[in-house]
Homo-oligomer: 270 residues x 2
């Protein structure tokens, strides 16, 4: 399609990036801009896939770069380093974002709507309201999911009253129980069943050396520490293997509950 | 006052910068933010002074720099090079602007409301509407004046339908005839009576040399070319003096009508 305006969030897309770009396409079309097309810059993660499955829809098309002069709309990011290849020479029509502004510039005036909220979808929700546009069930599920994800069920320190109010209203339209749906969604995102013990120990691991002591600090996120601790024996065996393989003095393995920031720590020595 | 948030536009303030910062203070106070204070970064020009006189108010305080951590709100600009000394270490709470974004960054998320309109005050006008706030006569005069100034009475190519609609509504509240008031305001801004012929020829003059030919191109802006041409003799005498003094081959003096971009050109040779 000629003159198509591409809408996308950041690289390594999370739920807010995927959902907000889909919602921005719908919002703009409701405002009369037909030539909008949401795309994505990377693979959909497990949490987001849960939402797409729930809605019975496919993820938007993947793109890797844009040509010079391509008209684009950014959501959930502004820094060029987090954006598509070729962004420097694209024509940015608008930005909707909740991050600080840095490493961003345009040649022309544009629409830029940033608010220091917990989630981009909360800003989009307010745009629907300001423009007197109806929010359908699908849009409500997309925006509610983004808010649940970015604010960890309204528990993260970045959560604002705007996010709370938006989620409350969206949940009604979406006909979801926020806690029930949200927990399933976050659980899907932190589903560790597909990983072997060795993979879990290496998912997010930093190798450190201090005063001749060699050690590793590793972490995994979950919504249920007890669930993962059912695999404690397997994990400890994997940790012992890592210690032997890398000649470590010890390894710290933190299992963090993302909902309340509690962690269970396993420390094993050589 | 402790914890005062300073609101200002760009250096070399024009009417939009002065009026929009005054209006932003009023808007924020109506939204419940009491600790706002509009300031300015430079002298008020003749056009803006006309508006302040019309309203019987003083210009806001002048500041030259801000301390580290000072909370600030920018209107009508974003580039640090056009902003206050110390802006890099200030805490920017919000920006309302109609320019491209460049040489701007923040450490924290913020409110950023940019729209590609002809004037910052048009964006503020829409914020009043979106928040269901009443616009009083004084605010209407400030915003209408800014729109008239930045769009040259809706004639500049940057004028949008948003500016037209805003000015129409503001003029009613302001109880002004847009053309009559606007022309007087623009006339005040281009008032050249205080300048001598020599000063007029040097107000905006570029010295050039090409293929051994030395010449100057000078320009003045006005809303009435005939008015200025009443001083044609005096101008020509001043131009002859410039030619003799600088050893020029010729001097081009353009008198531009800012309302329709017509120019009357005087060219005198040595």
């Amino acid at each position: 399609m000629e003159n198509q305006v591409l809408i996308f969030g950041h690289k390594n897309p999370d739920t807010d990036t995927i959902c907000s770009s889909l919602v921005k396409e719908i919002l703009d079309k409701k405002m009369g801009y037909e030539n909008r097309k949401a795309v994505r810059l990377g693979n959909v993660n497990k949490e987001t896939q849960y939402i797409l499955n729930y809605l019975g829809i496919e993820a938007q098309d993947l793109i890797e770069k844009v040509e010079e002069g391509q008209e684009v709309i950014l959501v959930d990011h502004n820094e060029f380093g987090q954006s598509v290849e070729g962004i420097e020479k694209a024509k940015i029509l608008s930005v909707t974002d909740h991050h600080r502004i840095a490493n961003f510039e345009t040649a022309e005036p544009l629409y830029y709507n940033a608010k220091p909220y917990g989630c981009t979808s909360t800003i989009l929700f307010e745009e629907f309201k300001q423009n007197g546009l109806k929010i359908d069930k699908k849009e409500a599920i997309l925006m509610a999911s983004a808010i649940i994800s970015d604010t960890l069920l309204l528990k993260s320190p970045t959560t604002t009253d705007h996010d709370k109010k938006a989620l409350e209203e969206l949940a009604k339209i979406a006909e979801i129980d926020v806690n029930e749906y949200g927990l399933e969604m976050l659980k899907a995102g932190t589903d560790l069943d597909d990983f072997t013990g060795e993979q879990l120990v290496n998912l997010d691991a930093k190798s450190l050396e201090k005063n001749g002591v060699k050690f590793v600090i590793a972490q995994v996120n979950t919504v249920s520490i007890p669930d993962l601790l059912k695999r404690q024996e397997e994990l400890e065996s994997a940790i012992h293997n890592e210690i032997a393989k890398k000649g470590l003095d010890f390894l710290v393995f933190a299992i963090t509950d993302i909902l309340n920031s509690n962690s269970e720590i396993l420390v094993l020595r050589k």
